[in-house]
């Protein structure tokens, strides 16, 4: 992955407009957050292969970045994004890494299902 280039990510988001796309969205502070006393809660959530379609998708901020995807009936939102990659299969991978390089948030789009 590389540090987010806003215009590259914006073009990639535009390429998914108004299409049936597969979404991977997650955030986590780690399964051991309580055990290692970094937090009083372990918090995480993920959606793997949610099927969505969005008519507007925008990246904003000066880094870390935010992305919002406007759906017909709702929104997909992520903040804290720092790095991106466009895979050879055309998947857009966005992730936010902390100072230790650990993934804290991810938003990914693909025209075919992500591997299980």
């Amino acid at each position: 992955m590389n540090t987010i280039n806003k215009s590259s990510v914006q073009s990639a988001l535009d390429s998914f407009l108004n299409r049936e796309v597969y979404l991977h969205l997650e955030t986590t502070n780690g399964a051991y957050a309580v055990h290692t006393q970094q937090s009083n809660m372990s918090v995480g959530a993920y959606i793997r292969n949610g099927r969505i379609s969005f008519g507007r998708g925008v990246i904003t901020g000066d880094g870390p970045y935010r992305v919002g995807l406007k759906l017909e009936l709702g929104w997909v939102y992520a903040e804290g994004l720092t790095d991106f990659e466009i895979t050879p299969e055309g998947q857009l991978l966005l992730a936010g890494h902390d100072q230790e390089g650990r993934l804290a948030v991810a938003l990914e789009l693909s025209l075919s299902p992500f591997k299980l």
């Binding site: 399964a31 992730a95 591997k115």
Partner: protein, 223 residues
Amino acid sequence: MEQHVLVVFPHPDDETFGCGGTIAQFAKSGVPVTYICATMGQMGRNMGKPFFATRESLPNVREAELAEACQAIGIQQVINLGLRDKTVEFEDPELLTDRIEQILREIRPSLVLTHYPGYAVHPDHNALGEVTIRAISRLSVQDRPVVYAHAFSHDSLDVLGPPDIVNDITALSDLKLAAIRAHKSQSQGILARIAKGQFAEQSFESSFSHLLESESFWTYNFS
């Protein structure tokens, strides 16, 4: 002398951090070791330091790291159950128990290493430990392997008492460290922080060196 050791954990690296020295000890003395690894740790948040894996490349990265770690500590066979990280507790426990029972009947291990259900912190650890214990309890008493259960929740000593198996692994620490290093995506961060002495709690560093000296288990009591 054990005839065959079966290791059952959900994530590549659980075998190394928790009992890499013990596994290496058995393997060195000629005991075959088989590892049922339930997931490929697809949802791990450690990506290497500096990070080199992505959410999508991580399972392949970890599979290769696992192969290298297994070579270091002498695990000859890995059975990947093909489950997804963080989902073990949501699967049908009967179906998982059936699969593990089937493997037990094929391999007929004399010893099983798994997580102590309820005392192993990560929900995947507790869930897989639970179905493993359940599968073993389906075997007749004379066919049941001994179970070394691995526990590390903060309350394990208070509730379970002191572990009855305390295994000195100092002679195997090089092999265990090689396996820890093989799990690059998962260990680079920790090793870097240890090297810099960046741990707020002094205890972590000493617990890491302890990790290379001794491994403890509770023999599971089925009655």
